[in-house]
Symmetry: C2
Subunit: 384 residues, 2 copies
């Protein structure tokens, strides 16, 4: 459950010294239309304002790394306001309110699915935000599909990013990346929180990657039962592997113009999605030649040696983390033995694997790490 907890915590960007708060707060880019709060300033502080005139106490879960969030203070007009005690990491953060002991979302902010519920979201403008900005470039589409899933007895939802030009080039076929969300998230995460489509649109416009399709579906197939929020304990990969490999891939290959050989199919995932990626690809190297684990484990020399065909078939073993995850000693997948991801990446490279290791500066177990990881990963794919 280490990963699940890490997902809920924001970390502090700066060292411990006090700094004056600059009063240039602006509404967060993720606010609901017309909403003035929450706000962020140029230093990365967040300020919250909630109207609840009869409330006894109002708190925001977002604060300095696990140290209890931000307590709001009541003003004469019945509003509650508070500012984080320091700057937050750049990028996206989940949060929620506690109002008189109850958990609610901030009515000013948009909602994003994380920790098995729709949470409020806030965006701390990042220095490198340009790579996922909405720009005047050709845009791909995101198709919502409902694919038949006999193993789960329903039609399941997935999102399929098709790159700009897909509609025009009626005979061109494309490689496919299967891209998974983390624990408590769902198939909306990579588009809504991750801006995967905009990252691809911008990369493609700049000639930075080969155009390819991205497929995103729900990976907690085995996990959600009414009344029991999912966990990683006793994780069984089979139900999701069946959905992905036996049901989704054939549907995508039948309904989209894909290249269907393993050298044109990749799988990657963040956090729990990386854990799933490692498990599924290990027994399906005839289907996936490119693999990415984003804050979701590593490949040790042992992994490589005991996985038949790994050295021959895997064209890329990409592993990434946020720098704060490494600082914090988060090493390896949940439940697995602790190991040094950087040393692992070097060891398998030495052994002949095309191993790429990326560390996102000054970010933790959050979406800014994964946005940057996708930007690094995409250009390395399907280069045979």
């Amino acid at each position: 459950m280490k990963y699940a907890i890490a997902l809920l915590l924001a970390t502090v960007a700066g060292p411990g010294f006090a700094q004056a708060v600059v009063e240039d707060f602006k509404p967060s880019s993720l606010n609901q239309p017309g909403q003035q709060f929450p706000q962020v300033n140029s230093q990365g502080y967040a300020r919250f304002r909630i109207t609840a005139p009869d409330a006894q106490n109002v708190k925001v879960s977002l604060g300095l790394g696990g140290r209890g969030g931000t307590t709001l203070a009541k003003a004469a007009d019945g509003s509650w306001t508070g500012t984080t005690a320091g700057p937050l990491d750049q990028g996206f953060h989940y949060y929620h309110l506690t109002v008189d002991g109850g958990t609610f979302n901030d009515p000013g902010a948009l909602n994003f699915y994380g920790s098995v519920r729709w949470e409020s979201g806030i965006e701390i403008p990042a220095q490198d935000a340009d790579f996922y900005a909405l720009k005047d470039v050709p845009h791909g589409h995101i198709d919502q599909i409902l694919f038949p899933s006999p193993s789960t007895g329903t039609s399941r939802r997935a999102f399929v990013y098709t790159p700009p030009g897909y509609d025009k080039n009626a005979r061109t076929r494309y490689p496919v990346l299967y891209l998974q969300h983390g624990w408590g998230e769902d198939e909306t995460a990579w588009s809504n929180q991750g801006h995967a489509n905009l990252i691809m649109d911008n990369l493609i416009a700049a000639g930075g990657t080969r155009p390819f399709i991205i497929v995103m579906t729900y990976g907690m197939t085995n996990d959600i039962k009414p009344g029991s929020p999912g966990g990683l304990a006793a994780f069984d990969i089979k139900p999701f592997q069946t959905v992905l490999v036996n049901e989704l891939i054939p549907y995508v290959d039948a309904h989209f113009r894909t290249l269907t050989d393993p050298r044109h199919r990749a799988m990657a995932g963040l956090s729990m999605g990386g854990f799933e990626t490692k498990l599924i690809t290990a027994t399906n190297l005839d289907k996936f030649a490119y693999i990415g684990l984003l804050s979701g484990g590593t490949f040790s020399l042992d992994d490589v040696n005991r996985t038949p065909g790994f050295k021959d078939k895997v064209k890329l073993a990409f592993v990434s983390f946020g720098s704060r995850e490494l600082d914090g000693g988060m090493r390896g997948p949940p439940g697995g033995p602790p190991s040094d991801p950087r040393a692992n990446a070097a060891a398998i490279k030495q052994a002949g694997v095309n191993s790429v290791f990326y560390v996102s500066p000054d970010t933790g177990h959050e979406f800014q790490t994964w946005r940057r990881s996708l930007k690094q990963f995409a250009p390395l794919l399907f280069r045979d």
Copy 2:
């Protein structure tokens, strides 16, 4: 603003007599994963439960037609529970909580964009729910597109439903329906609240309609400014007309396999979207031959006579309402003269217009009316 207000109110299904509440409550189908509340019973009562141990008062906006919602009562364990004083109309309802004077969403329910914010939603199972149920039939896709909009200086979002088979029949071209949401809603409404895609999938599977494309975009282009929630006062159709006619239609015709003559293009909308449909089609009969106003005004004989080309060019003038809207005297578009929609529909039919008038039984200014209206409207389209 009459329409905006009507959007927020639920109405009572039954007459005034008291009935025993049947204790067969089940979680609403629109709850967040694993959430037990809100619940609905077989009679259409809704029951809410909120955890907020230190709160002073908790209320739900949903209740009997404008009579103040439902007040929850506190139990010893810190939870607040309450049941509506009577059955609610079948179908979808927006609602929110008031906790100690603040407006919040129900953490148990999914959110839907209405009244210029993301609101909680609840579904009262309808007798005719089968026509928008997720079934084991071929499913169309919903594409999220970002189309260039020079007039608004950005890339704008739209959703495009493509029918089952669209991917397979690479030479088939399809008619297109442009379908608009109501005041305070956005381009997500017809899919999320309306199930437009499932209605089409089911109709097509049963041979009940010709397959066609549906395009849904944001229609409050002129209306939303930070700090000032939109209204219908001083409504100017030009900004949205420019986006729809000059920017979106050319993009759709360039990126999807459409039939581009007016006899293969329709426009319809609900509430404010019907108002927009009437204004835009009136000056663009060279582009749209099929028109639908769903709880969004009527075509009077006067309208027909003073619109050049109406009688020759319009192949269908479809008007619908929920029965409770007619009972309540809601007649004609906001700001317009009151007129009897049924008499108007009969008068223009007499004058030679293919006029179809539909009334949804026992529903008001809510999505069940519009789901049923789409089901009635679709089979009448593109029948030349």
